[in-house]
Symmetry: C2
Subunit: 113 residues, 2 copies
C-alpha cells in the first residue's frame, strides 16, 4: 500500500507491541473521557473501525483529538487516515497478548461503573 507523505505526517504513530509500557497504558486509561472512548471502541473488533465523527463525546473536537492522540501514543488504539477522515480501532487483541486480562477488566469496570 502506498502511503502519502501528508497522511504519514498527520497520523500519530502507535508503538510496537513490545514497546508498550504498562504505566503509560494505565495513564492513558486514567481519564473518564478516554475511558469512554475505549468503551465506545470496545464494541469494535480489531478489524472494525469507527471514524472520529462516529464517537459520541460531550467535548470539543480539539479536546477529543487530544485524548485520541494520548490513547494512540500509549498503544491503546490505532489511527488510520483516509483522506480527511480518521479511522480508529482498539488494539484489544494485541494488548491482551501483552497484558493479559487488563483491557477486559477495565472495560468491565467502565461498563459497570
Amino acid at each position: 500500500m502506498v502511503q502519502t507523505a501528508s497522511s504519514a505526517h498527520d497520523t500519530v504513530e502507535s508503538p510496537d507491541l513490545e514497546a508498550i509500557d504498562i504505566a503509560t497504558v494505565l495513564h492513558a486509561l486514567s481519564d473518564p473521557m478516554r475511558l469512554e472512548i475505549v468503551r465506545q471502541l470496545g464494541g469494535c473488533n480489531e478489524t472494525d473501525e469507527l471514524t472520529c465523527g462516529q464517537l459520541e463525546l460531550p467535548v470539543a473536537k480539539s479536546t477529543a483529538s487530544h485524548h485520541l492522540k494520548t490513547l494512540t501514543a500509549a498503544g491503546v488504539i490505532a489511527e488510520r487516515e483516509e483522506g480527511t477522515r480518521k479511522h480508529l480501532r482498539p488494539r484489544r487483541a494485541e494488548l491482551e497478548r501483552r497484558f493479559p486480562g487488563l483491557i477486559d477488566s477495565v472495560l468491565r469496570a467502565t461498563n459497570s461503573g
Copy 2:
C-alpha cells in the same frame, strides 16, 4: 481499640469500596514507583502488612510518602498507624470484588514487564 486523635489525624482515609472510582484507581497505578509499591505489597495477604520501612524504594522518604497517600486515597492500599509506624496493606480482595481481574492483571504486567 482506642485510637488517639493524633493517629486519626495523620492517617489518610481510604475510601469505602463502593466509592472507589476506576479512573482514580488507574491514575494511582499509572506511575512506575507506585506500581513498584503495589508489587512489593502484592505478596501480602489482606491480613498481612508491611511497614513503610520494609518497602525498598529508591526515592526520598517524602516522595515515598506522597505516593503512599495517592494509593491510599484511591483505595488501592490501606494505611494503619501504630505509634510512629505506618502499617500498609493492599486492598486486593476488596478491589477484586469491585473491579474483577484488574489488580491481578496489573500485578502480572508489572512482574513480567
